[in-house]
Symmetry: C2
Subunit: 127 residues, 2 copies
Amino acid sequence: MKIAEVSERYAISTDTLRYYERIGLIQAVKRNESGIRDYNELDLRRVEFIKCMRSAGLPVEVLIEYVGLVQRGDQTIEARKEILKEQRELLAARMKEMQKTLDLLDHKIDVYENAVLTKEKGTVQIE
Amino acid sequence: MKIAEVSERYAISTDTLRYYERIGLIQAVKRNESGIRDYNELDLRRVEFIKCMRSAGLPVEVLIEYVGLVQRGDQTIEARKEILKEQRELLAARMKEMQKTLDLLDHKIDVYENAVLTKEKGTVQIE
DNA sequence: GTATCACCTGGAGTTAGCTCCAAGTCAAGG
DNA sequence: CCTTGACTTGGAGCTAACTCCAGGTGATAC
């Protein structure tokens, strides 16, 4: 599969796909005789994984390290697991923060709804 | 309250507090006779609000717009509500993405745990 | 009275993560 | 054969959100 199709399928620009490969976030993709990338199934799974991790905000740097460990084989399994565990905790923490914000937004929206009603009858005062 | 104490209380650097004021994300804080900022209760609540929103990733630009509307008074209530609603939805969407990633991480970690056990007995193969 | 310290300002510098660009190659269509 | 269009590269440019810095002021401690 050529880069354009991969780009389309995962909604990642070709520039970004090439960039990811350049920085070692995606392992070097095999080329055909004329030097054009031809993504195979494994490449696609890797792209999807990276897309998923990036969409949640995991830093590129950490992912590069993880991908590097994957390439070094079995003896890095422990290290990889530790990275995933750490990132999992950081992610959970961020989500908790976001939940607080979501709650506050819901509360504020609610206050605004009432304010609009109240305003129709007279006084309001919101910050 | 002086900027250093505000910085300490909310874990926001004094540089960032001044920066927020410069760009209009926080309304101009009153100064004492010698030009030094003296945050009052309302200022603190505003700082806390901004901190909360920023911690969830709401863009500075959007927050500036919101804060600007607050300053313009009651006739902007509808507009403010719409901003909050939109940001609420975007936030919920991001959290959903993150939940997917969290699930995948949990699954991977689980696979790794098993791999470590299996490895002790012989074969492994994880990507 | 002078050293220290927290504060002030405007502007420059930094970081992460892309995103764009120029210049070049190659395969296919007319 | 020549154009078109998708691909290639290395490197420059961009955006958001800080973060740092130089140079200056004013209050307090010694």
